[in-house]
Amino acid sequence: MGFAADQLQRLRPLWEQMLAHRFLIQTRDGTIAPATFATWMRQDYLFVEAAIPFLSAMLPRAPRAHWGPLTEVVAMLQKELVLFQERAAAVGVSLRDVEPAFVNHAYVQFLMATAYQASYAEVYTVLYAAEKCYHDSWTVVKQGLDTTSPWYPFVENWAGEGFAQYVAYLEAELDGLAALAGPAERARMATLFELTVKYEIAFWEMAATGEQWPALPASAAPAA
């Protein structure tokens, strides 16, 4: 069994908790409140924007064979931004002037701090874990969401065959990197894998609750 499969097995309870998150289930069943989905859309748009510097920060240490695939991921993220813009326009949601929620900000800082400080194999672990989370999460939504839903293009994007192949490629590459890593590095990779899954769960929770930053007293709250 490869490193990725080992981690997925080790984290199975957490993974199942993520896949059973009410945000996904309500989206799948078509019962999600439009405002709740809009919260996710606005926050995830920021996250996808931030993922482009993350991918770019991986490049300097990437093996030559990964340069092409990583730059393709950057191009894919650009297309995702367009997808968000189209879906938001279709339902009258503005993507402008959005402040990142605490969890969103924290997750992005985690990505960037990891990209700058961790080994390439460790950063690659984070990339794989995040993409695998998204593929599996949207596969849950695919199992019930009406194909005429305005949100269905998100399903087509992340639960489609193309994304599945991309995630499978990442998994194979991650297993290769893990095979070359020593036990200490593999242990750090496992920790980062788990932390990524926890951030993904926290992100769904933030979308479901609309939680922003820890509530400051009104006298200290930043101007809107």
């Binding site: 309870p13 605490f102 924290a106 985690f110 960037m112 820890p214 400051l216 007293p217």
Partner: protein, 233 residues
């Protein structure tokens, strides 16, 4: 006030962050330190999490030394790095034992979400920003702690010697000197920069100040990462 004087950039930072620092001063965790009423087991949250914070804070000084162009600044950041790693963290380990937190426990401690987010933010800013960005992000820790501790000390130290020592350390002339040097460094780095750059520096400064408040809130309420529900107990 001299009406012809150019306003100092750090005065603008102070004005932007002061409501957040006053909110820290009014936070029940901070008030509990000030009057000595804070439960020691609650304060131990700060002891544990701040130890992890210090490790990453030291890393930011290393980035600062690498990015500084003035020899005096390089020397100063290197000194702070040494003091943080080789003096302050040792003092923190001794201080922790007064709250029954052993050095082994400190080393085993895992960052809670707010600690992780704040330190990742600092490290990320140190890595991909310039030195002005870095100083704007790290200054609220030194300045904000001095701000609240000096006001606590002026109001009188609590009877609990452990909290009195905490206040005395952050209200000390040595700590104030470090804060003052950083403020002047911020002035030097901001001099001649564009309005857009100053807006970015202010944004970083306010963001760190928000994280400072969130850190007290985390220590007061406790925090946890998502865990499997059947294991959450």
């Amino acid at each position: 006030m001299d009406m012809d004087a150019t306003p100092r950039f750090t005065d603008q930072l102070y004005a932007a962050a002061r409501p957040l620092w006053d909110a820290q001063l009014a936070h029940p965790f901070v008030r509990g330190i000030a009057d000595g009423s804070l439960a020691p087991q609650t304060f131990a949250n700060w002891v544990r999490q701040d130890y992890l914070y210090l490790k990453e804070f030291a890393r930011v000084f290393a980035w600062a030394a690498a990015k500084a162009t003035r020899l005096e600044s390089m020397s100063w950041y290197a000194k702070l790095l040494d003091l943080t790693l080789n003096v302050e963290m040792g003092l923190h380990r001794s201080y922790a034992e007064r709250f029954d937190v052993t050095p082994d426990e400190l080393e085993r401690e895992r960052a809670w979400p707010t600690t992780r987010a704040y330190t990742d933010f600092l490290v990320r800013t140190a890595a991909d920003g310039d030195l002005a960005d870095l100083v704007a992000a790290l200054l609220p820790c030194a300045w904000g702690y001095a701000y609240i501790a000096e006001r606590m000390a002026a109001a009188g130290l609590p009877a609990d010697a452990r909290y009195a020592a905490w206040i005395a350390m952050y209200a000390s002339p040595e700590f104030a000197a470090a804060r003052d040097w950083l403020i002047e460094e911020m002035e030097r780095l901001a001099a001649g920069t564009s309005a857009e750059k100053r807006a970015r520096l202010t944004e970083l400064f306010v963001l760190s100040s928000r994280y400072e408040w969130a850190f007290w809130e985390m220590c007061w309420r406790g925090e946890r990462w998502p865990e499997p529900e059947n294991a959450a107990g």
